[in-house]
């Protein structure tokens, strides 16, 4: 069977020139002067091989940084690597496709079978996650150019306190949820749409994009790595995987001597302080609370899911198909009003000529009104389900957050929070114990 397929393909390729040969174009004029017509130049895109080179560099960088963080424990070297990553993945490669954005490609490929996902993109998505699963978020430490550029401008990092960290920490989950929702429905790649640093890497972007970058970087002077901590959707995935990492950066290579020197060393508030005293809450109270939680979790999931589904229209409003349907509807209403005014006896209504490009293109495409509407209603249906899932996910995140706060805690030493720590190795410099 396989051979048959192969031969049929081989034959197809043999036949192709035969098919195209007798087909001619309209004859040229015969020039008497020695004029030769120029040929149309079609520039080729970046070679595919280079994409594999990028994956290779990513792999090497991840391995190197992991080694630097876990074995060498050197902030200086990690910093040097982040400069390299900034130069290579940022300024040389100019951003696309990055691991953060690849979330959307993967989601779209999962739901839309006509969208083929190149292996390189899949690897960009997978490799950092796999490395994080074994070594912690070393990708964030010095491979991701976004992190690197923010690390560079974190001049006056301030501790935000746990409340702010918690509240703002919900944003990335929402962002991730929305990004997956919009990508899966084929609406938009919002992570790329609001990519804050790509303009810098290319020295070229719209003014609005630059303004956006500027504001973010400026806030990054006081709040270290604001994008990574409070926006990055890929960070959510890394956070989850990092919690179960096999090895992770530790503040001290040996026994902690409780010197408290590292207390203020982390600009990202990712150091957990020791908790040695027992919870003052009695055991029955705890059990009661836990039982309440088991009710609370599904309750929150449902409540938020419901809210999400109710927001179906708002969410779907982002989609171009729904937008077009709305416009077409407005147009047909207007035409109705006009047609009405042409009927005898009807009052004259103000005529508004709607000739937006979208409407022009719709008219040129030859699509019928009902086609536009049915496309939009298909999208809306997706968003109804998507709204439930997105809302439910949000509810689950919040419920888990609450549950996390309710659990008893016991910690002897100062340790890095495995979920939030970027493995930047700053704290190691503060630890008086050196290997």
């Amino acid at each position: 069977m396989y051979i048959v397929r192969c031969t049929s393909f081989f034959l197809l390729f043999l036949l192709l020139p035969l098919v195209t040969l007798p087909i001619q174009r309209f004859p040229k004029p015969e020039f008497e002067t020695n004029y030769t017509q120029p040929s149309t130049q079609i520039p080729v895109p970046r070679a595919e091989l280079l994409a594999y080179l990028d994956v290779l560099v990513l792999l090497v960088a991840l391995a190197l940084v992991s080694w630097l963080v876990l074995k060498k424990r050197s902030r200086l070297w990690v910093f040097a690597m982040s400069v390299f990553s900034l130069a290579y993945f940022g300024f040389y490669r100019e951003g696309c496709v990055c691991s953060i954005g690849s979330i959307q490609n993967v989601s779209l490929a999962l739901f839309d079978h006509s969208f083929v996902l190149p292996l390189t993109v899949l690897l960009f998505f997978l490799l950092p996650l796999v490395f994080t699963l074994f070594f912690g978020r070393t990708f964030c430490a010095a491979v991701c150019p976004f992190g690197a550029i923010q690390d560079l401008v974190a001049f006056k990092p301030q501790s935000l306190g746990s409340r702010l960290n918690t509240v703002l920490g919900i944003i990335p989950y929402l962002y991730l949820g929305l990004a997956v929702l919009f990508a899966a429905t084929g609406t938009d790649f919002i992570i790329c749409r609001y990519d804050p640093f790509v303009g810098i890497f290319r020295f070229n972007a719209s003014f609005g994009m630059f303004l956006f970058t500027g504001i973010l970087l400026l806030s990054g002077v006081f709040i270290a790595r604001p994008y990574c901590r409070f926006l990055c959707p890929y960070g959510v995935l890394l956070n989850w995987t990092s919690r179960f990492s096999r090895r992770h950066l530790t503040i001290t290579p040996k026994e902690c001597i409780q010197c408290r020197l590292c207390e203020n060393s982390c600009p990202y508030d990712a150091i957990d302080f020791p908790v040695t005293d027992k919870s003052p809450e009695s055991r029955p109270l705890m059990v009661k609370k836990m039982m309440m939680l088991t009710v609370l979790v599904p309750f929150l999931v449902l409540i938020f899911g419901y809210t999400g589904s109710r927001m179906q229209d708002t969410l779907a409003g982002v989609d171009y198909r729904v937008k077009l349907a709305k416009e077409v509807m407005a147009l047909s209403k207007m035409q109705d009003a006009k047609a009405g005014s042409r009927e005898p006896g009807a009052g004259s209504r103000k005529q508004v000529q709607d000739d937006s490009f979208e409407i022009k293109a719709y008219k040129a495409s030859g699509k019928t009104e009902s086609q536009v509407y049915s496309e939009a209603s298909a999208v809306l249906k997706k968003f109804y389900l998507g709204g439930w899932l997105f809302g439910g996910f949000t509810g689950l995140v919040i419920a888990m957050l609450i549950a996390g706060r309710m659990l008893p805690v016991y910690r002897k030493d100062y340790v890095t929070n495995k979920g939030r720590c970027f493995s930047c190795a700053r704290c190691t410099d503060y630890c008086p114990i050196k290997s």
Binding site: P118, L119, L122, D188, R193, A364
Partner: protein, 222 residues
């Protein structure tokens, strides 16, 4: 206690790894819906469509953005919405199609009386379209890419009065191949599509089709 914790951790790690593997598998090995194929061919004629379970991602081509002129309405957003300035979309001339007109609809402003290259006659706002005399009555039209801003004015003129040899195309030496093209998002006619990187052009009239097939007018067209 720490032992149990470690065990749970390992278990979860294994779980996450399995989940990632499953996800990749779902993306790599999957049936296609018969619409497209990573070979860049239309699946409709392929005997293996639907049942085709080849690892899609493994053979998948990198894709690049390209503009399908059959849908384009020349709204000018290619010039203003590209992340690059000037835009990576530029006018490209299919010389094989060109009629070498004296009165070129893409070159001259409407109402031009004396057909010279003087500024008052030119349609192109940046003087990027060059007109050169060849021999009576033929003129060659070329594009200075450095000057072209991709506004599509000449494309509209050529399409309306000529045979559409001037076409807007994404120039891949300039395009950054954004993951999501910002022009694609704003294109009113959804004319931007991802095309396989080895076939980056969607131009017509490069000498591969019979006159008329592009416009479906049955042999009486170019």
């Amino acid at each position: 206690m720490p032992g149990r914790r470690e065990f749970l951790n390992t278990l979860m790690r294994g779980g996450i790894l399995a989940a990632l593997g499953l996800l990749s598998g779902a993306v790599i090995f999957r049936s296609r819906d018969g619409k497209s194929c990573s070979y860049g061919f239309d699946c409709s004629g392929c005997s293996r469509s639907k049942s085709c379970m080849l690892p899609a991602a493994l053979e998948a081509r990198q894709t690049v953005w390209q503009l399908d002129m059959t849908k384009c309405i020349q709204c000018g957003r290619c010039a203003t919405n590209c992340v690059m300035s000037p835009s990576a979309v530029k006018c490209t001339h299919a010389f094989a199609m060109c009629g070498y007109c004296d009165l070129c609809g893409g070159y001259f402003k409407p109402g031009t009386k004396i057909l010279t290259t003087a500024a008052e006659n030119q349609l192109c706002p940046t003087n990027a379209l060059k007109r050169k005399f060849i021999e009576d009555p033929f003129f060659e039209y070329t594009i200075d890419e450095e000057l072209c801003i991709g506004c599509g004015k000449c494309v509209k003129g050529c399409g309306a009065f000529g045979n559409g040899s001037l076409q807007l195309q994404v120039r891949h030496d300039r395009c950054k191949n954004c993951n999501e093209c910002s022009i694609a998002r704003n294109c009113p006619s959804q004319a931007f599509t991802r095309v396989p990187a080895n076939k980056p052009s969607l131009m017509r009239g490069l000498g591969k089709e019979r006159p008329g097939t592009a416009a479906k007018k049955g042999g009486v067209d170019a």
